[in-house]
Amino acid sequence: MGIALGIDLGTTNSCAAVATPTGVEFILGQRAERVHPSVVAFPSSGGVVVGQDAKRFRLTEPQHVIHSAKRFIGQNIRAPLVQLALTGIRYKVTEGPNQQPIVVVRDRRMTMPEISSHVLLHLKRCGERQLGESVGDAVVTVPANFTDAQRQATKEAGRLAGLNVMRLINEPTAAALAYGFGRNQDQLICVFDFGGGTFDVSILRINGEIFEVLASDGDYFLGGDDLDRALAEVLAAECNRNLGFDPRQHPVLMMKLMMGAEAIKCHLSENDAAEGEIDGIDLPNGTTGSLPFALTRKQFEDLIAGYVNRTIEVTKQVLMQAKLQPKDISDILCVGGSTRIPTVRQRLADTFRREPNIKINPDEVVAQGAAIQAGSLSGSIIAGTGMGTRDAVMTEAHSPLFFGGAAPPKGPLARPVLLDVNPSTLSIQTAGGFSERILDKNSPIPIERTRVFTTARDNQTRVEIACCRGESRRFAENEPLGALLLEGLQPKARGDLQVEVCFRVDADGILHVKAADAASGAQQEARMQVFGAPTGEGGA
């Protein structure tokens, strides 16, 4: 049996780690970097380049460099938010079967899971080189509010990379696991995960080895990418005014502005003002110009205020869902690169009247939690010996498990139990266009619940069970998930036929629906086939 990796597959960066007796060992890249950019390049010179090396091609051939694939994985290309995100990328995406986005590089057509599988394969190979053993299993993290289709597509990416995905776990839960594992305390924490492309908040109760998610919510289309794009738009307008031409039509130039915007954003997290020039702007008259800029932190904060307000609003909602007050929370974990922005931390501190915990590394903590879960699931974390069975060699890759001077555990470590939740209400359509809830938001997973429904008209022989996710009582206002057809029913008066509808959400957060007619024994079972999900045997 090979080693089980914990992998944080991020929008901008990915990170992988493995549990060892004294802590967690990170998988390093060729330059000993712990964090691997989730970038895949198909350069003209041939081959596939992943990670830090792929980033170099962004300026020379941006149309062959695929980044932020996580924003499109398992998505319907026709969704308005996807269309908006497509304006921010410079590679080509077209519509494929089942309305899924397809990346086109020269004459190659690739699905989003294929792109992500290159990142996973890269991590797998780095891991095998570093550990000297084969890597077979993995725990991969996903944003807590990822949909069924996005989860299925992520699993598919793992399969394509030759990994057995033992479990998909939610990123905030993984962060909480890394933070609370072995502490043996009873406390309520809030995980604020603001990454490159997605945003999640979870409230957890850590009670010894039990990690129970009380409530979770977020936005899978809100992240650092959006902040960069907002800033790049400002720079583009500036360029239009100063140099007299609009760069928005030029992919290379817009990419340059996006990269400039990212650098300015990071600079402003440390400094009060950013001033400089973006060089090498090719003007239409053949000359090369440069774009001067000057931005204060206050100006940047005003620019992104809308996005930050949204994150704080969601945080307050989640607190309400957990029926808690800000003062009940004993620690706030900042996860994801975007939490480095001072105004985000300030707004969090204002909301909770307490400084957020910034001792943890926002880029690495999720992979660390995934590694602990991988070690636990593969049985390599053995109670009483500390952590995994792999020999610990203190290297650069090594990170102690306990943050902020927390005391090392006394006595044997128990296996952690994650009680995660499903992020949205799952319902079926009933007559009159209503939706009838089967599984509520924030129910623990895995979960199974059966409800009995009757037919709406006399002598009905078939029933269509249309499923949706969302909070509205009107079916049409929710997000459709797919439908199941139950046929061959005995003709009976309306209300006499009893149809059992069973929803089961497995530990990966994937929904399975079953419908049965008790009288005739007719039964239908399906995993929802969703728009944007991988088709064919890959989806099964």
């Binding site: 895995p446 979960i447 008209r457 089961r504």
Partner: protein, 201 residues
């Protein structure tokens, strides 16, 4: 910590045998338990029987599958209890000023008791329609199972809510609940309007 292989298998068999029974029995609780008791009981089960704890415990894949589905069923029962107890608490809070019948303790809401003719005016799909959203084939509308009296009150509530008069809408819903205390649909509607009112004030 986690229980032995034999213990967990015995537990799973017991749960699956009682699957159709009332929710509180699956968590080995009494009928009128508090939310705290339900949570405590569920945590106790999670500590000993969570399928992740038994992955390397010598169980066959089929046995793991059985433990997983037993655990999933218990999680479903826990959710049923949690929503019921939350509703009971809300009803108690409301009934301080107005008399409202206490929530009945039905294990699982079963929309559509068989045999009852639906009252006139119930929204159902037109007979000739086809397609995904209408079609011959939807499960029944929750309002269909209400008694005629409750439905009358509910219609009044609907028109009051359409006018934007939340207060009298809430009153009408409460009257409807008094006429048909078994309708989960009505109680959910009341909770919604109540939340809306609180938001406004």
């Amino acid at each position: 910590m986690s229980s032995s292989r034999a213990e967990v298998l015995l537990w799973a068999q017991r749960v699956i045998a009682r699957k159709a029974g009332p929710a509180h029995a699956l968590l080995e609780l009494r009928e009128n338990c508090t939310p705290e008791q339900a949570q405590e009981a569920f945590h106790k089960i999670a500590r000993t029987a969570h399928p992740d704890l038994h992955r390397s415990n010598g169980l066959t894949p089929e046995e793991i599958e059985m433990v997983t589905s037993a655990y999933a069923v218990v999680a479903g029962a826990y959710m049923t209890l949690r929503s019921q107890t939350a509703q009971t608490t809300r009803m108690k809070a409301l009934s301080k000023d107005e008399p409202v019948p206490s929530a009945p303790s039905r294990p699982t809401p079963v929309p559509g008791p068989s045999g009852r003719t639906p009252p006139a005016g119930v929204p159902t799909a037109p007979a000739e329609s086809t397609g995904i959203l209408t079609g011959e084939g939807q499960a029944a509308n929750p309002t269909q199972n209400m008694s005629q009296k409750a439905l009358n009150y509910f219609r009044k509530a609907e028109s009051a809510l359409k006018r934007g008069d939340l207060k009298s809408g809430l009153l009408q819903i409460k009257l409807a609940i008094a006429a048909d205390p078994s309708s989960t649909f009505l109680r959910n509607a009341m909770a919604e309007v109540d939340a809306e009112l609180r938001k406004g004030s």
